[in-house]
Subunit: 104 residues, 2 copies
């Protein structure tokens, strides 16, 4: 499948889009994970569950979809897992659209 289609599919679910928005906006210190956001904004599952009111396996499923599309990077921190947005993939996607469709 075309790379662009793959990423569009990942972006095409409201839950996943919201999660990405959360990741892009996350700034404050993560509740339980120590030092998790020292470097860059990110979130752990628990924050996403709480914020969006989703059960754990549902979040897990969508994070996997996002990770497989290259939109987020996962990092284990002890028994937690941190997720970071992958702006490079999104930028590549917009550039691909530009060149595919002759956008200015």
């Amino acid at each position: 499948m075309l790379d662009a289609v793959r990423i569009a599919k990942a972006l095409s679910d409201p839950v996943r889009y919201q999660i990405l928005l959360m990741l892009a906006r996350s700034q404050k210190e993560c509740c339980p994970v120590p030092g998790a956001r020292d470097q860059r904004p990110g979130l752990c599952n628990c924050e996403i569950m709480a914020e969006l009111g989703l059960i754990q396996s549902r979040v897990s499923y969508h994070m996997k979809e996002l990770a497989e599309a290259g939109l987020v990077t996962e990092e284990p921190r002890g028994k937690w897992k941190m997720y970071y947005i992958n702006q490079k993939t999104l930028t590549g996607f917009t550039q691909l659209l530009k060149s595919d469709f002759n956008l200015k």
Copy 2:
């Protein structure tokens, strides 16, 4: 639903993405529709069917999806229908992604 999600969903099907690519690249004179591409590149159903090997109702379905997402504009020309890509929508989409996710 978020506007960006709506457009991502329209882009997330391989058939639709191919159709959009065809629309963006269409240059030469359209086979049956007189004067259809005087102004801008566009295609009629029959060309899409032929090029991608799809039956008519399938093309019709996907064109409707694309039109409803604002990605193509439809113009009846007699008994034919011409489709034109809507670059403005695509550009808006990339800009939305940029601002939503702080891309450079």
